[in-house]
């Protein structure tokens, strides 16, 4: 016992992290966390990846978490270190990513005195974390760390901050193990009430125009939820659409998959949403990017909504059959009931519904034409998909047009291979996230599909991937514009391209080379395949600058504030119904 008593706060912290199964920390040192860095130096079980900006650390933690399902761990110093992770915390909260971020803090006696590098971290991060803690006493340290991991990963996952005053890190105390550390009262419900599931399944069995609509909750619930979803969808013979966050939750190559829905979703998915009579929403949150104009959203359908978070239910859209529970658990119950009922997937009405869906599909809403001497961004991404198909490949993205094309043209058969900032839409996310994915999956092919503007936001991490020899591939869809901003300006602001042109871009090839990363460029459509192959086949990190046509727009598009049936299919497609004003109000 004596030995356990003599541990310092930093040693207790590291022991707690190890006992929580942490194998890597993404971090950046500073005065307040020097005791932790000292303790890290004296051990070799816990790996530390030194990022080049704290924003990189937190997104790398997200990449790690999103690609493994495990909690990502981040370590930063007080004050500016802590404030630099705020965007990543908000990002992780929006997309329900389990993170524990350890922040240094000034000594307890100095808190509140405007000490050097003091910030009210707990106050600043309260609205952008699932929960946060200030450890004021060494006796609470181990318990709080264990609790933080429990809270981060259980129920609807999310980011947790543990703020660590320097005196607590230096003090000595007793370690307590993780056994039985559960929060006193925090107990998310997993199993749904059976009396809620049965009537929902009855309704599903009677549906004439059913549609599954599933989101990130399926991915977060885990691979079992994805398998069960696939089983139920196949048993029923019903069509399914995924949200941006839900891609990979159902195999994209399957005939029952209608693609992504929402603002830049497929015509068939959005029309099916508009016309369905029974909607089965699982782990999706009726985001405004999915629903479009709320008053016209899937007006005729009876809605079933399964979610682990009661606050997601009836938030934007009133549903008829709310079911609170973990997706895997509820899907399992649904499958059991479905099998009992022996519902036929060959019912008359259903065939009619599929005929309608096939007619919508025949529009081929994602089609584009690659002609001339300039590379179309869609073509570049489609070739990237074709040439990486079948490999152990993970894709991350930045935010903008390239992200939407990636969502449209990359196809995911399995969960956790598609890593994108959905809820917050954080430019600069994809590159550090790719770094985190690569750390978790050293042998996988990890590609950041990037916009040139987004990449500039966290490009300092080139130094990190170089140091740790992380073979991340950066695929820059370089249209020399903040393309998504330019698109909105074209549609909603009279083509006044205010501040959306990317002037003075660096020479990306030279930039990469200056960090010891291979830089490549491709400018002609007939050279795209070769360039992608070289990127894949080159050992180590590669940055590929793909020069694409600058003024391409993402279609289909449901303008903000419009209804699903008001979708614009292409440059010469139907007008958008003159909703310019509404579009301007919405973000």
């Amino acid at each position: 016992m004596d030995e356990t008593l003599s541990q310092t706060g930093s040693e207790i912290l590291i022991q707690a992290l190890l006992d929580q199964g942490v194998d890597v920390l993404f971090g950046y040192p500073g005065g307040a966390v020097l005791p932790i860095y000292d303790a890290l130096f004296q051990q070799n079980e816990l790996r530390h990846i030194l990022v080049r900006h704290e924003a990189g650390a937190v997104h790398a933690g997200e990449g790690y978490a999103r690609s493994t399902g495990k909690v990502g761990s981040v370590l930063v110093t007080s004050g500016p270190g802590a404030t630099n992770i705020v965007t990543g915390l908000a990002d992780a909260l929006m997309d329900s990513v389990p993170l524990v971020c350890l922040t240094g803090q000034v000594p307890t006696a100095m808190i509140g005195n405007d000490a050097f590098q003091e910030a009210d971290t707990v106050g600043i991060t309260r609205p952008c974390t699932k929960h946060n803690y200030l450890v004021k006493n060494i006796d609470d340290l181990a318990r709080i760390v264990h609790e933080a991991y429990y809270v981060a990963r259980s129920g609807r996952p999310g980011p947790v901050v543990v703020d660590l005053p320097k005196d607590v890190l230096i003090a000595t105390g007793r370690y307590v193990g993780p056994a039985n550390v559960e929060h006193r009262t925090y107990r998310p419900s997993i199993k749904a009430e059976p009396e809620r599931v049965a009537p929902a399944v009855d309704l599903m069995a009677r549906a004439k125009r059913p549609l599954f609509y599933t989101g990130g909750g399926i991915i977060n619930s885990g691979p079992r939820a994805c398998d069960l979803l696939t089983e139920l969808v196949r048993l029923s013979g019903y069509p399914i659409t995924n949200t941006l966050m839900g891609l990979g939750g159902y195999p994209a190559s399957d005939g029952q998959f209608l693609g992504m829905l929402g603002m830049h979703g497929t015509y068939e998915a959005n029309m099916a949403m508009a016309e369905c009579d029974v909607m089965i929403a699982v782990g999706a949150r009726f985001d405004d990017r999915v629903t479009g104009r709320l008053s016209d959203f899937s007006k005729g359908s009876t809605k079933i909504h399964v979610d682990i978070d009661p606050s997601s239910i009836n938030k934007n859209v009133a549903v008829d059959f709310p079911i609170v529970g973990d997706a895997a658990s509820v899907l399992e119950d649904m499958i059991a009931l479905w099998k009992e009922k022996r519902v036929s997937s060959k019912r008359d009405g259903l065939a009619e519904w599929w005929r309608q869906i096939d007619a919508w599909r025949a529009k081929d809403c994602l089609s584009y034409e690659q002609k001339g001497e300039v590379i179309k961004p869609q073509y570049a991404i489609q070739r990237l998909y074709e040439l990486t198909k079948g490999r152990d490949v993970y894709f991350t993205t930045e935010v903008g047009q390239h992200q939407m094309w990636a969502a449209q043209f990359l196809k995911f058969e399995t969960p956790k291979h598609w890593i994108t900032s959905g809820g917050l839409g954080t430019m600069g996310f994809g590159f550090p996230a790719a770094m985190g994915v690569q750390v978790a999956h050293p042998d996988a092919l990890v590609i950041d599909v990037a916009g040139e503007a987004s990449f500039l936001m966290n490009m300092q991490e080139l130094s990190t991937i170089s140091q740790y020899r992380l073979p991340v591939k950066v695929f820059i869809v370089n249209n020399q514009y903040m393309g998504m901003v330019r698109q909105w300006q074209e549609f909603f602001h009279g083509g006044r391209y205010s501040e959306s042109y990317m002037d003075s871009l660096p020479d990306f090839v030279k930039l990469a080379e200056s960090f010891g990363v291979t830089g490549l460029r491709v400018e002609r459509p007939d050279e795209v395949d070769d360039a992608i192959r070289r990127m894949i086949d080159t050992d180590g990190a590669v940055l590929l600058d793909v020069r694409v046509s600058p003024e391409e727009n993402v279609f289909p598009m449901i303008p903000g504030g419009a209804a699903h049936y008001e979708m614009k299919l292409g440059p010469d497609g139907a007008a958008m119904g003159g909703r310019e004003e509404d579009g301007m109000v919405l973000v």
Partner: protein
């Protein structure tokens, strides 16, 4: 068609730890909900549990959201909507300072007597009345004091508890 706005009294049991009130208030300001009244005090010392009573208003869908969001806060044990639940009692206490002389002073005492308000401090020119009861009763009393030299009011906000023998 917009749903009608309702007033609800909600009681929470929370861990009595630093920042818990900030979490509750931050939720209301961050998501644009109303708080009409809020009270908080420790109710179980051994368990370090506090009770928060709050009065809010919104459409039924908003009220449901408020409860679900409150329930999501990690240190919140229990969220009970007293307005939709079993019958309950609501009380509020106010200290009301009235300054005046002569007939107005006498009149204020007479009204205080009708409302069963107690005098807790008196000078030759002022009284402080302590009054408790429903918020409506307090408002009525305050209104009557206005022409009689009302100078200051301090109210506790609503505390509430369900009727009958069962706990929250």
């Amino acid at each position: 068609m917009e749903a009608a706005v309702e007033r609800h009294t909600i009681s929470l049991l929370v861990d009595n730890e630093a920042g818990v009130l900030a979490r509750v208030i931050g939720l209301f300001s961050g998501r644009g909900y109303n708080i009409e009244s809020l009270t908080v005090a420790e109710v179980d010392k051994s368990q370090t549990v506090s009770r928060i009573n709050l009065v809010t208003s919104g459409t039924p869908m908003t009220i449901e959201q408020i409860k679900a969001q409150l329930g999501r806060l990690v240190p919140v044990h229990k969220v009970i909507d007293l307005t939709t639940g079993a019958p309950h009692v609501e009380r509020e206490l106010a200290l009301v300072k009235v300054a005046g002389r002569g007939e107005e002073r006498v009149e204020s005492l007479r009204i205080a007597d009708i409302f069963r308000a107690r005098v807790v401090d008196a000078t030759n020119e002022s009284f402080i009345f302590e009054i408790s009861g429903s918020s409506d009763k307090l408002m009525a009393f305050i209104k009557l004091m206005e022409p009689l030299g009302l100078v200051d009011i301090s109210r506790t906000g609503v505390v509430a508890i369900s009727r009958g023998m069962s706990p929250l």
